[in-house]
């Protein structure tokens, strides 16, 4: 088990390294170097040159990459151009807001998706099953930022049930949660669909398994068979699905933060672009990528820990 966990984390390190190389290559290959991008069109050649050497852009490419890579390992993602603060600090300041948003979205998707999928499986082929099926496809199809805008329009602007902008007063948990409802729902509602479909499918598959027949043959109550014997197995893939889904949720969070004017990584990057604050953009991309890869690895490790079958295939 430990061996598997280490192996899985090792793979994550390799993937992040390759992703960093790609990010670096992208910066290098695309015409227009970061220095002139940062300074804008009115910069003099001398200013560009000065910034280039300050950013180390006059060094050979492999030196630049090595510097980029190893300083990132140390947690040094460079200096923000405007304020001169370390990028990592700026990004970490915003990270909790985005994490709260994603945690909220995951809560919605699990709390609604698992029961819906379960009901659909139990009522398979019936009216309820079909309605849940069509709704699942529909919420998966519609982009989350459209849902974000319309939920803002309906619940915040027209009905005024919930606050429209911001993340709530600092220190006031109730107000913060209230501000979290709409944006996290906008991100999570598509995942309600994904999870409902997946739970339905894996529930149906599990109910066909021979150990369920054994449980029936021993006269266990049908409710215990469904919720304790079958659901326990059927929800396991949810963890993998959510692990993979976190990447998409980070993307959706960018929109949700902009639509609801919430602080967070997405808003940080969006604002950094308009002032060409390039180190912040790279830093935020790196941090979210590492976050996504690590979450994925942990999802796999958790699955291995929860599912004895997976666990045994590694030992």
């Amino acid at each position: 088990m430990l061996q598997y966990a280490l192996k899985r984390l090792g793979l994550s390190v390799v993937i992040v390294s390759v992703a960093m190389a790609m990010l670096f290559a992208m910066i290098y290959v695309i015409p227009g170097d970061p220095a002139s991008v940062a300074l804008g069109p009115r910069a003099t050649p001398e200013m560009v040159q000065a910034l280039r050497s300050r950013m180390g852009l006059d060094q050979p490419i492999w030196v630049q990459f090595a510097r980029f890579y190893f300083s990132a390992l140390r947690g040094d993602l460079g200096i923000e151009i405007l304020s001169g603060r370390p990028v990592l600090g700026v990004v970490f300041e915003q990270l909790p807001f985005t994490l709260a948003l994603i945690a909220g979205a995951i809560s919605w998707s699990v709390l609604l998706g698992i029961p819906l999928g379960c009901v659909a499986a139990i009522r398979r082929g019936g009216f309820v099953d079909r309605v849940i099926g069509v709704l699942s496809v529909a919420v998966i199809a519609v982009p989350s930022f459209v849902i974000a805008i319309y939920s803002l329009l309906i619940f915040a602007v027209a009905l005024q049930w919930l606050p429209a902008i911001g993340a709530g007063e600092p220190g006031n948990l109730g107000s913060q949660l209230k501000h979290l409802i709409l944006p996290s729902l906008a991100i999570g509602v598509g995942w309600v669909g994904y999870i409902a479909r997946m739970v339905r499918a894996s529930m149906l598959e599990t109910l066909e398994a021979s150990h369920i027949r054994t449980a029936r043959a021993f006269g266990l109550p049908e409710s215990r068979i469904t919720y304790s014997y079958a659901l326990r197995i059927a929800i396991l893939p949810t963890i993998t699905l959510l692990g993979v889904g976190v990447g998409t949720m980070v993307s959706s969070a960018v929109f949700a933060e902009i639509v609801f004017a919430r602080p967070g990584i997405g808003k940080l990057v969006y604002e950094a672009i308009s002032v060409r604050n390039y180190p912040v953009v790279t830093g935020a991309v790196l941090v979210t990528t590492v976050f996504f890869v690590v979450v994925n690895a942990f999802a796999d490790i958790i699955i291995a820990a929860l599912d004895p079958r997976v666990r045994s295939s590694f030992s």
Binding site: R213, F218, G219, P221, Y229, D307, P308, S312
Partner: protein
């Protein structure tokens, strides 16, 4: 006393391509304290028979006639779902064919054994103690420690022992064993058979033992039932059937058993022809298309004809077939 008495049982399945007559007027009896073997090719209705007795028929299946008397009183055909559930696991226990898949993979063996005792008023500790005692009876070493383990930590043979332990946990009066040794290799098979025989005597239950392995049936069973295409074609003591088979199908089945061949044959003998289509069941005798004795009489369905003692066969020509080996 007769523990299980199946009379005139017929079961149909409604499928997209028509109604499938899976069982037709099946008669069988499992007396107290005896082991009854059921033998037949795949598709002969063995599984449907078990599922009907257990009340676990698929939704498209229905009993169209007959009754199933359990311990001489309750007719299982008309018992409601709750009444049936109260019998399953308590009075009627089952061991299934596939030991790999028969146990829930994400629950510990102890949890599953405790769940089976959910009707009992014992404390959790006492239930676990009973589970341990039962595991010891099926010769699982170190059962106290093993109780906390998950199914994948046991070998195939051990899993089947655990399945037997689970089945006998509530001291049922009828144990249904659905090809419990088919998925195991030969040495394990012998061990499981001996274990079953041993435990059956200890607990004093009856066993309905399904197998397509004639050797195992001969070894284990007191009585046997031969099924073909949803009908019981012959029913009697194991001794009578092996030495004096009266139904032409039984004779051919015995002749095809590799273990019973007197000399090495270049090719294993087979029964010519194929199983009849159960969606379009032939009128009359079910075996007529493959039988060498077929004549006009066979156009009518034969009754169960007694041919000596409890030995019965569903063949018009039971008188003619004596002694003649197929």
């Amino acid at each position: 006393m007769t523990i299980l008495d199946v009379k005139d049982l017929s079961v149909d399945f409604v499928t997209e391509t028509g109604t499938l007559q899976a069982l037709r007027k099946v008669n069988l009896a499992v007396p107290a304290n005896r082991i009854v073997g059921v033998v037949g090719e795949s598709g002969c209705g063995k599984s449907t028979l078990i599922n009907t007795v257990l009340g676990l028929l698929a939704e498209n299946g229905a009993v169209t006639s007959g009754e199933i008397l359990f311990e001489g009183q309750s007719d299982l055909v008309h018992l409601d779902a709750n009444g049936m559930r109260a019998l399953r696991g308590q009075k009627i226990a089952t061991v299934f064919q596939d030991p790999m898949g028969a146990l829930n993979p994400v629950l510990s063996v102890g949890r599953q054994m405790r769940d089976i005792q959910y009707r009992s008023a014992l404390s959790r500790k006492e239930k676990d103690a009973r589970s341990i005692e039962m595991l010891r009876k099926v010769r699982i070493p170190d059962p106290e420690r093993r109780l906390a383990q998950f199914p994948h930590e046991f070998s195939g043979g051990m899993k089947q022992r655990i399945a037997i332990a689970m089945a006998l946990l509530m001291q049922p009066s009828l144990l249904i064993a659905d090809e419990p040794t088919t998925a195991l290799d030969a040495t394990l098979e012998v061990a499981i058979i001996e274990l079953l025989k041993d435990l059956q005597q200890q607990i004093g239950c009856s066993v309905l033992f399904i197998s397509h392995h004639l050797g195992v049936i001969a070894e284990l069973c007191d009585d046997m039932i031969v099924m073909y295409a949803g009908e019981v074609v012959e029913h009697g003591s194991t001794r009578d059937i092996f030495h004096n088979a009266r139904h032409p199908y039984t004779k051919k089945l015995l002749a095809c058993d590799p273990a019973r061949l007197s000399r090495r044959e270049p090719q294993l003998p087979t029964i010519p022809g194929t199983l009849p289509d159960l969606r379009d069941r032939p009128k009359g005798c079910i075996f007529q298309a493959r039988c060498e004795f077929t004549d006009e009489a066979c156009a009518e369905m034969p009754p169960d004809i007694p041919v000596g003692g409890a030995h019965v066969t569903r063949c018009w020509h039971a008188g003619k077939t004596t002694g003649a080996r197929a």
